[in-house]
Structures are given as C-alpha cells and as structure tokens.
C-alpha cells in the first residue's frame, strides 16, 4: 500500500499504549450483579439520541446524530450525472463513502480507508438502496459521505440512521426511512445499543456476537443484516426479533427530527418558537 507522504508525517509504525495495559484482553463482566449495565442502563435500554437535519449548508442534504458519545455527520450530494462511464445505469445509484475520523476510536485509524470502512460503506449502500426510489433518477448518482467523529459503539447503526435522515433532507424520494439497531449478545444477556467496550470486549469468544440490522419500519422489511462472532441459530433468530423491536422504537425519533427540520425550512417564522423547545429526544427505556 503506497503511503501518502503529504499528509502522514509521523513514523511508519507506532503502537497505541492501550495494547500494553495489564489484562487488556481479559474477559470482564458486562452486566452488574443487579442486572444493570456498566453505564447504569437496563439490558433493553437505548442511549439518548440527538438528531439534527441540515447541518452542512453546501450539501443538498445533511444530518448529524449523537447516540450518547457516538457522533456521526453525513452529507448528501446529488442526484448528479454519473462520473464514470462504467457506472451508467437506467436506475439511479447510491455511492457511499464511509470513514472513521482518524481520532474517533481508541486506536488511531489510518487516512486511507481500511477494509472495515469499505465494508461498512457497502453495507450502508445496500441498506439504503431498497428505500430509495432509484428509478426516479436514471443515469445519475447520489453521493453519501459519512464521517464518524467519535465512536462509542453502534457506529454502523448510527451511520445508517444518519444517512437516511440526510437523504430525506436532500429531498430524495424514498419509500421509507431506514432505521437501524445494534444488539450485543453474550452467553447470558442481550444488550441493546452497545457502547464501544460492550461491543468489542471478548467479542471473539464462543457464544458472543454482535448483530446489526437495518429495517424499513412501514413496509416491515429488513434491508441490511450483519452478524459477527459465534452464535447459535436460535440466538440469532431471537436477536433479529429484538433488533426489529429496537428499530421500531427509534423510528418515531427520526420522524420527529424530520418533521422539525421541514417545519423550520418552510415556515421560518415559527423557528424561534421551536428553538425554545427542548432539542433533546431522550428515548424511553
């Protein structure tokens, strides 16, 4: 892999001090004895979500989402003419670029997109394409740029939600909004909307895993599915059910966010009144 000499001025190989922590790979308990999680939530609780549409003025549509410490920003450009002749198609195409900011995770990311980022980009593309009326803009593409500013778990789910809000903000015609939910499965528990430690801790051990699901709530269809780790068939089926339910709980929050942004766009007089209202949408646990 050629190195970008212009931007990377550090030494070629460095290691994070986190690797040298005592017992950093040890299996620790994710759930306290009284059934609550390390951050005080119950198994089925989603962290508070904040969403805002229209945060980048140059873009056709954009959105910002915070799920506790996970922060994602997304901008949508297009529809515009396809750039490469090979991409010509009589239905529109979605082009997604997904990137973790280099400082967003505990371990530093590289500037060049790594395999995980490329995979996530593909998953987000496939999660959104069933929801978009692609036949409405033939021979053109919509560019979706997603940047994770801080990763505290469930980054993929947050990105899917954020990009679907941004698409709506760009007034791209859609059949439905895509919601997403992540579930961490341990031998005893199913933890909804995991934090970074919950998502990564002892994930490679037997009977542990993470399921991320993208869901179209009003037509009841699953548009994306990713499972990692080692799980039995029954556990996965159970997890899908819980994920669906989680997605349905996030749906009204997205609705509210879009309603608010449309209102402020077309009736600016009411904007001041809106502003005095509480912005935060704490999810009901």
């Amino acid at each position: 892999m050629p190195v970008d000499k212009k931007r990377i001025t550090g030494p070629e190989v460095t290691q994070s001090p986190l690797y040298f922590l005592e017992d950093s790979s040890g299996i620790s308990q994710l759930v306290n004895k009284d059934g609550t999680r390390k951050d005080g939530r119950g198994e089925n609780d989603i962290r508070p979500i904040f969403m805002k549409a229209g945060v980048v003025s140059q873009a056709q549509g954009s959105a910002y989402i915070e799920i506790a410490n996970t922060k994602v920003i997304c901008a949508v450009y297009g529809p515009r003419q396809v750039l490469r002749r090979e991409d010509f198609s009589m239905t529109g195409i979605l082009k997604c670029e997904f990137k973790f900011a280099t400082f967003s995770c505990p371990f530093r990311r590289k500037f060049q997109p790594d395999v995980e980022e490329k995979e996530f980009a593909l998953i987000i593309e496939q999660a959104l394409s069933p929801a978009v009326c692609l036949h409405k803009f033939p021979k053109s593409q919509v560019d979706i740029n997603i940047r994770v500013l801080e990763n505290d778990g469930s980054a993929l789910a947050a990105s899917i939600i954020c990009s679907s809000v941004a698409l709506t903000d760009a007034a791209v015609e859609m059949y439905d909004i895509v919601t997403a939910c992540t579930l961490r499965i341990t031998p005893e528990h199913m933890l909804m909307d995991p934090s970074y430690t919950e998502e990564t801790n002892s994930i490679n051990c037997e009977s542990n895993g993470v399921v991320t699901m993208g869901f179209l709530p009003s037509i009841n269809q699953t548009s994306s599915l990713l499972q990692r780790g080692h799980l039995s068939c029954d556990k996965v089926l159970k997890a899908l059910q819980i994920c669906t339910e989680g997605c349905q709980r996030i749906y009204p929050l997205i609705h509210e966010c879009i309603r608010r942004s449309v209102k402020s766009k077309y009736r600016p007089a009411e904007q001041d009144k809106e502003k005095s209202e509480e912005d935060q949408n704490p999810s009901k646990g």
């Binding site: 395999v115 496939q126 394409s129 069933p130 080692h230 799980l231 039995s232 068939c233």
Partner: protein, 289 residues
C-alpha cells in the same frame, strides 16, 4: 461479478422453476451441485487444494511464513487472506476489474476467521511477542460459474486440512538471545485442527423462495442474498446480507434454518471426503442434499 445477459422470459422461467422446487439442472432448492476436491496439488505450498463445483473452479494455496505477531494478540499467530480473480475466469476481471470483489471476499474470510476458537491460533506462536506463524491463504478463481464464496470456503477448509507446518525449536544461548531452528526431518511437521473451521452457505432469494448454490443464471434473477458462515455443529460465525433489495423477517427466518441444515450436511460431506483422502492427492467428489 461475471454476469450473464438474461431476457425477461428466461428469468421468469427460472423463477417459476424455483417456485416448483425444480431448477434448470434438475436440482431442488436445497441441493448443491457435484463437488470435486483434490488436496496437495501445488508442491511449493504448505497446503493446497483444488475444488470444482460444477463449472466453478477454485485453487487455494497456503504458505506458512514466520512474522511478528500483532500487538493486540502477542501470543497467537494469524491468517492473511487474498482472493485473486484471474482474468481467465472472466474478461471483466482483467487488470483492476476484480479488485473490489476480491477485497470484499477477503474481508468476509478475514472477519469470519477472527473468532479465536476456529483454529488453535496459540499453536502458531513461536516466541510470544516476537515471532509467530503467518498463514497466507491465497485463493485463485480459475472458472466462474456462480456461488463463488461457498466454493472458496470449501477449498480453504480442504487446504487447511492439507497444511503441514514445520516443527521449530527455540534455542536460548547463555546471554538470553534466542535462535530458531527449523526441523529438517520430512516428517517433522504438525497439522492443523480443522473441526471448527466454518463454511459459507449463500442463500439467494429468487421470487418467493430461496435456493442454495445458485448458478450464474440464477444469481442474475436474485436481488438479495444472505451469506451465512456455518460451523460443523450448525452455529453461525458470521452473516451478512448482500444485494440491493430488502427481505422480510419471515424469509430471513426460513433462510437461516435452511443455512443451518445445509451447512451441517456440507461439513459432513467434506469431512468424510477429507478423512478418506487423508494426505493423498487423488481427486474425489461428493454430493450434498
């Protein structure tokens, strides 16, 4: 993906056939095509296999080399996957044509082989923190006839069964320096325990039903598929949805149940074949479903 041009009429024919549980080549929805495996085909590798799934052909070569362990796991060796789409298989793969697909597939493999009980990664460690075995698993696609991932995973498992890793001894001198000595005895090798290595099962949704082991023509009729990696006890070690359309939860449920059933059969077929073949190199075949 090497795609075939199909007319609407041909697509309808395939979809209706699948609905009646009878496919163009006479199979039912849960049958695989004839699988042929040959082990130890390339002499310069530590382990290799050639697999033919009707008209999909895959060659896998594994090379064991010594390298530095990753900082996050100093006491284990690791695997590196590379999928090479040869332009022999389809002119589309010429030059950089197959790059995206190849990257996508090697990521799938790497992700699934991350779970630490799949191989005994600790046996691949030579000196903790300094030296370990790195297995380069290179997959070459020779002919493209649909269902590539399943064929590749079968070939990878066969090649891992065939892999011989030389025995090494670590010599320590009086000043605390370490030296590695590789055994020159032809029988001085150890083999890998492969009973937990998973196989991919790709389920393609065609019309109202789903099929396993889709041919190129069937892949052209399919807009959504699930790639599930199943181990020999029927547990899932990874799953991803592919394709541009969505699936209902009921059909995902049915697909996963099929994946479990077919995956166990596939493991059984390959395991009996591998135990018969042992370390010999003669080609053998088996049928699933």
């Amino acid at each position: 993906m090497a795609s075939t041009q199909l007319s609407d009429g041909e697509k309808t024919f395939i979809i209706h056939g699948v609905l009646d549980n009878l496919r163009n080549d006479g199979r039912t929805c849960e049958n695989y095509r004839q699988i042929e495996v040959e082990c130890g085909v390339v002499s310069n590798t530590s382990g290799s296999s050639r697999l033919r799934l009707s008209n999909t052909e895959v060659l896998v070569g594994i090379k064991a080399e010594m390298g530095q362990p990753k900082p996050q796991s100093p006491k284990t060796g690791f695997l590196e996957f590379f999928v090479d789409f040869s332009a022999n298989a389809s002119p589309e793969f010429e030059g950089r044509g197959g790059n995206d697909l190849s990257e996508d597939m090697s990521t799938r493999f790497a992700e699934v082989f991350q779970t630490n009980n799949i191989l005994d990664f600790e046996s691949l460690c030579i000196i903790p923190g300094q030296c370990c075995w790195v297995l380069y698993i290179d997959i070459v696609l020779l002919e493209c006839g649909g269902n590539l991932l399943d064929a590749m995973s079968l070939a990878v498992k066969a090649a891992l069964a065939n892999t011989r890793i030389p025995k090494v001894t670590v010599l320590r001198d009086s000043e605390g320096g370490e030296d590695i000595e590789v055994s020159d005895d032809p029988d001085g090798y150890h083999t890998l325990e492969i009973s937990k290595v998973p196989l991919f099962v790709t389920l393609s949704k065609i019309g109202q039903k789903h099929v396993v082991d889709a041919t190129l023509e069937e892949e052209a009729c399919c807009s959504a598929s699930l790639v599930v990696s199943v181990n020999s006890s029927g547990d899932f070690t990874g799953m991803v949805k592919k394709g541009s359309s969505s699936l209902s939860n009921d059909s995902i449920h049915d697909m996963l149940v099929t994946a479990k059933k077919v995956g166990i059969q596939l493991h059984k077929g390959l395991d009996t074949l591998l135990s018969e073949v042992g370390q010999s190199t003669a080609g053998r075949g088996f049928l699933v479903g």
